[in-house]
Symmetry: C2
Subunit: 341 residues, 2 copies
DNA sequence: AGGGCTTTCCAAAGCGCTTTTGAAACTGGA
DNA sequence: TCCAGTTTCAAAAGCGCTTTGGAAAGCCCT
């Protein structure tokens, strides 16, 4: 059933039926009711492609995810982020298009999407320092919003980010309050903006309390369970090991806990640890008292907000750029306690 | 730059330019070369929407993922599966559309996608027993392929699945060979087809070796770390505890290991465990000898194959339904050893 | 009765492609 | 030289929608 057939069936013109369906004022309420009823009865849906061609808008928002060949890694937050964004899109009548491209081909992908008129807007993920994608998107004129910030990008843009600096500063502060003086940082790759900011927060908090950051106590790498284990094991083997850890993700934290267990220590008594918790649905820390003390911020919610932001940007491109800085909650669980001794 | 402008620029008709670009034979090689050069020079890309309208094919394949409100869970394999499928799509010139819908609205979503001409084909995930979606898709005439099988579906359809039954039978066999007699099963929800088949394999292998399955040794639930921990803890607290476990996912396995550690036991010596390993990129078990003995099968590869299967289905709908049963590898790691005593 | 408004509808153009149909130019054979 | 057959291109008709630019009908007022 298409518009032509539906209007023939009603004895009306395509114009009238189209305008009735789209809520224009220049059609009487009586005929609008008739049209609506007929559309309902025949389960009519306007053809997306035709509408897109006629209006010049596709109703689709793109997410480009780089495929990293060298270490075929998919970001673990991807699923929950997409789920959050997808919820908002479907409520707003948008569709989500995901394009997997070779690493480094992202800019080419953006251009191609624009040229082909595939999407109305884009979500940019995992910004790096001085990320060139931002300038490119402004240049080609595609609305977008960024998940995270790109330190060094000199132009204004829309973003949603967690206050990583503050979160890790608070966590560090909390550990210092508990009497910890040697605090290890098991960070993500610091080419990633969020990891960079977390280190800043960590170091600032240490300095604010008169403690000098010790490079020997910090590690950075891709955040796997194995990395968490190796990093914690190595740090615990130091002559003067840390009594507490800051850990960049729950997956890492699972490895850290393993290393602590294997060292014959008790987490929360002999060694404390705070992790950042993105509230990944398959790693959620339920129970009355959470297992891990954590800086908690829902990546799913970030997805929702970012989706909303892109949609707003598409609807009203002229308004000034907006930002949302989400504060992480400090959740006290059982993985922290007073410094021993 | 659109077709009209490009053809005006070349002094050719739109027809000729279009057919030159699309590789038709009725355009001389000389003009084809001219067209190709001009298209390249101006970075011309045909407008997707217009092409879709003209050809009746959108070049888009849909993935519908249900949003489960009650326990906002996203399947952990989602990210890697999507990454695999996305790789194949982009190589084949397709786009991937992901639609997040409320749980139970999947059938409505399929219908709507068909009516609106949004997608050329669909990937169906997480089939349940007697899944009604299969009949629906046949009825509305959308090409599709299923990730997994739906026990009880009486009609033929295309699928890619892991041989879960065989994998768990082999793992059980392996444990029996090591001398284990009491083997616990920490399974996923058995309303899910794959979990159902895993239990079958487990029980068949036990019976084949003259062992009676003991319901007291099995658990099923959503596969989180916490569930793995609780299940293993409870089973280890039995008067006559199992000496080995079969575990449904690596995330679960992390919880199982924790319970074993906390019980003061050593994994691979006092207690053995085999997990199924989907090779999730952020949980990959690297190192010379893997930490976990596992039945291993790449969900990323499953995504690639499924994507290929849908594309083939779109191209040639008349050919008989095809299936791919992927055999899981049994990887011997350090989490298994001879039964104690 | 006639002019200006408002309300309600429609014909037709257009979005940017593909594809059908057919025409022009060129070829070779008798 | 003429005709049939081939090669190469173009005009125009769609694809299914939205939107522009009226037009017809009804209303009120003078």
């Amino acid at each position: 059933m298409n518009l032509k057939q539906l209007s023939a069936l009603l004895g009306l013109s395509q114009t009238t039926v189209s305008r009735a369906l789209n809520g224009y004022a220049d059609v009487s309420e009586a005929t609008r009711a008739r049209v609506l009823a007929a559309a309902e009865a025949h389960d009519y849906r306007p053809n997306t492609r035709a509408r897109a061609l006629a209006t010049g808008r596709s109703g689709v928002i793109g997410h480009v995810i780089p495929r990293i060949n060298t270490h075929a890694m998919v970001n673990p937050i991807f699923a929950d982020f997409i789920a959050g964004a997808g919820e908002t899109y479907s409520q707003a009548g948008y569709e989500m298009l995901i394009s997997v491209v070779d690493d480094g081909e992202e800019e080419k992908a953006y251009l191609s999407m624009k040229r082909r008129g595939l999407v109305d807007g884009l979500v940019v993920s995992a910004p790096r320092m001085n990320d060139p994608r931002i300038a490119l998107l402004d240049e080609i004129g595609l609305p977008y919003a960024v998940h995270g910030r790109a330190t060094g990008a000199d132009r204004p843009y829309c973003w949603v980010d967690v206050n990583n600096r503050r979160a890790f500063a608070r966590a560090t502060d909390f550990l210092i309050d508990l009497g910890h003086r040697r605090i290890g940082l098991i960070n993500g790759l610091e080419t990633m903006d969020f990891a960079h900011r977390r280190r800043q927060g960590y170091e600032e908090a240490l300095r604010a309390r008169g403690l000098a950051p010790d490079a020997a106590l910090t590690r950075q790498d891709e955040m796997t369970e194995g990395y968490g284990w190796r990093a914690a094991r190595d740090l615990l083997a130091l002559p003067d090991p840390p009594t507490a850890f800051l850990v960049s993700s729950v997956i890492c934290m699972l490895g850290v806990r393993r290393a602590i267990d294997e060292a014959g220590l008790v987490l929360g008594r002999d060694v404390s640890a705070i992790t950042h918790d993105d509230q990944l649905s398959y790693l959620r820390d339920d129970g009355p008292v959470p297992t891990f003390t954590a800086t908690r911020s829902s990546v799913r919610e970030a997805g929702q907000r970012l989706a909303r932001m892109v949609i707003d940007r598409i609807d009203t491109p002229q308004v000034p750029h907006v930002h949302e800085l989400l504060e992480a909650e400090l959740i006290i669980g059982r993985s922290t306690g007073p410094a021993p001794g």
